[in-house]
Subunit: 333 residues, 2 copies
């Protein structure tokens, strides 16, 4: 008999989530019935967008249900198979979330060919965060030759890929992140002008110091003051890919938008929000491009790893205090 | 000897402009030298964007200079010509602004063929405001079949054209304007759901009452609460043409942006600011389409006319208290 631990949503947070919002349970895994597999998770992901799903609000992703497991992506290994499509030991991707393992129909998980990459890369650079960076920069912001690119949350899972894709394509990149360690990482991945926003009084001036003629593309992971600075620093016909606004996810009151939004008009700025799930058609091309960049040493990544399911809430909460450089992950086995 | 009166910028306003910011002068017009014409203005335009030009701030249009005539569009008649390209009596369009007449090089004015329209229409529906509506709705918001359209400032020079172009193309249109008289006008021009925003406590609910499934296109002339309501009411993949934000033009402090801007992300909204001068290439097609719609009775317009140059400041100030239905004009002769 196999037992696993899982994390459930106990109560909906108001503002910043707390440990008391999470509950742990130990459950027994049934043996796989016909067409089912049993999976032991190796890695699970925590991502900022999950904060929105903790609210009982209709949005692009349905809210997590109270008393149920927090769901999301994981990478695991098949331990028992009753589905001829899977053998014991196969690596699989799944969306069953914050748990050490599960039994489920084989058709609800995807076999993973790691193509020489570490399997957890498929929760980060080679997974949704990577595709988010690729689609946002190339399709939404429509990056074109000569564009100067500004990225907020630049040391995060998405932001660090945006920076490197832009560099791989020959662009000047300004990246903002919090603290000297992240700034160091930004320099390592080739960012031309790395800003420690926590050490800046005037974020607009900090951006313009790196891009005296202004920026053509802004990739927003943060919102708030970063968005305001990007509007100030934007050039004519700038394009903003609005990917996330982590600065306001835990706000208990609606936060005012940028005070300079009228700059959209005179500067003819296009600002477009997006969700990666509308861009899955780009996945094959993305993986092809990414493989090339990795081979050429143009793209690398960093992980911040918490060990064990007990640490999953800590890993998640750490996203909102900027504890991660690169992808935040929980190693389960 | 010909004398004319003109209006000059005496001082830069803080907040709402006042009469004391304007100065009147009587000047003598020299006889036209070689290549010059003398013009008597018949109509001049006042437009919201001129408020920005009263500030000493670099923007898409250069600031008006202190002590100089407020410039802008006018329609006049040639009274003396020393340019073989013009005859006495020719109608001309010019950008010499708030004055009863001027002497200038013929090459700096454009001969006007009114094509059966009243000449002042070329300051409104058949001029820049009309092209603004056309370019914003069709190119920036990329109107497509089935779109539900929401327009703020819907009874204004630009807004009323947006409503009618959308109706001519078979769309459902929700329009917002201030006061019962404007709402009556909106109904006359075929708006499906006309909102008197001054009588509404909940603008989002008012929009959704007319568009229960939400809006696909928002044409923004107002900003502020209207933009916030449009974000709330937007459907997936909505497109916003950001044309003006008259609600904040006289603000003395930067005004916060919409508190719900993060909706851009989940709804995959595209929000694009624009200035008509980047879309002059559409002018011939616009005039062709407009002529057809006017012939078919699908587009009409209304004017609010102040008489005499003395009233030019009143006409201009009236824009910010919503005194105009349709195009605000000053009749000079």
């Amino acid at each position: 008999m196999t037992t696993v631990r899982e994390v459930r949503l106990k109560s909906r947070p108001v503002g910043m989530p707390k440990h008391e919002n999470f509950d742990f349970a130990t459950v027994e895994l049934r043996d796989p019935g016909p067409g089912e597999v049993q999976v032991r998770n190796l890695w699970m992901t925590v991502d900022p967008y999950m904060r929105g799903r903790m609210n009982d609000v209709k949005s692009y992703a349905p809210p997590f249900a109270l008393g149920e497991v927090m769901n999301g992506g994981a990478i695991g290994k098949v331990t028992k198979s009753n589905d001829p499509a899977f053998a014991e030991g196969d690596l699989v991707q799944s969306q069953y979330g914050w748990r050490e393992g599960f039994t489920a129909p084989g058709k609800t998980v995807q076999k993973l060919d790691p193509r020489g990459l570490p399997p957890q890369a498929f929760l980060g650079a080679a997974g949704m965060p990577g595709l988010t960076a690729y689609a946002g920069l190339l399709r939404i912001a429509a990056l074109k030759d000569g564009d100067v690119v500004f990225v907020s949350g630049a040391a995060g899972a998405v932001g660090s890929l945006v920076c490197q894709i832009a560099k791989a394509k020959g662009h000047k990149v300004i990246g903002s992140a919090g603290g000297p360690e992240k700034v160091k990482f930004l320099k390592e991945i080739g960012v031309d002008h790395a800003i420690d926003y926590k050490a800046q009084k005037d974020l607009t001036a900090a951006v313009l110091a790196g891009a005296p003629d202004g920026v053509d593309v802004y990739f927003d992971n943060v919102g708030g003051e970063h968005l305001e600075a990007a509007l100030n620093a934007a050039r004519l016909f700038a394009r903003f890919a609005i990917c996330g606004m982590i600065s306001i996810y835990n706000a208990t009151e609606p936060q005012p938008g940028p005070r300079n939004l009228a700059l959209l008009i005179g500067k003819n700025i296009r600002m477009e929000g997006f969700i990666v799930s509308h861009h899955f058609d780009l996945m094959p091309k993305f993986i092809e491009d990414l493989s090339g960049w990795v081979r050429e040493g143009k793209v690398k990544w960093q992980e911040t790893v918490f060990e064990g399911i007990d640490k999953a809430p800590d890993a998640f909460l750490g996203l909102f205090s900027g504890q991660n450089t690169g992808k935040m992950l929980v190693k389960l086995a």
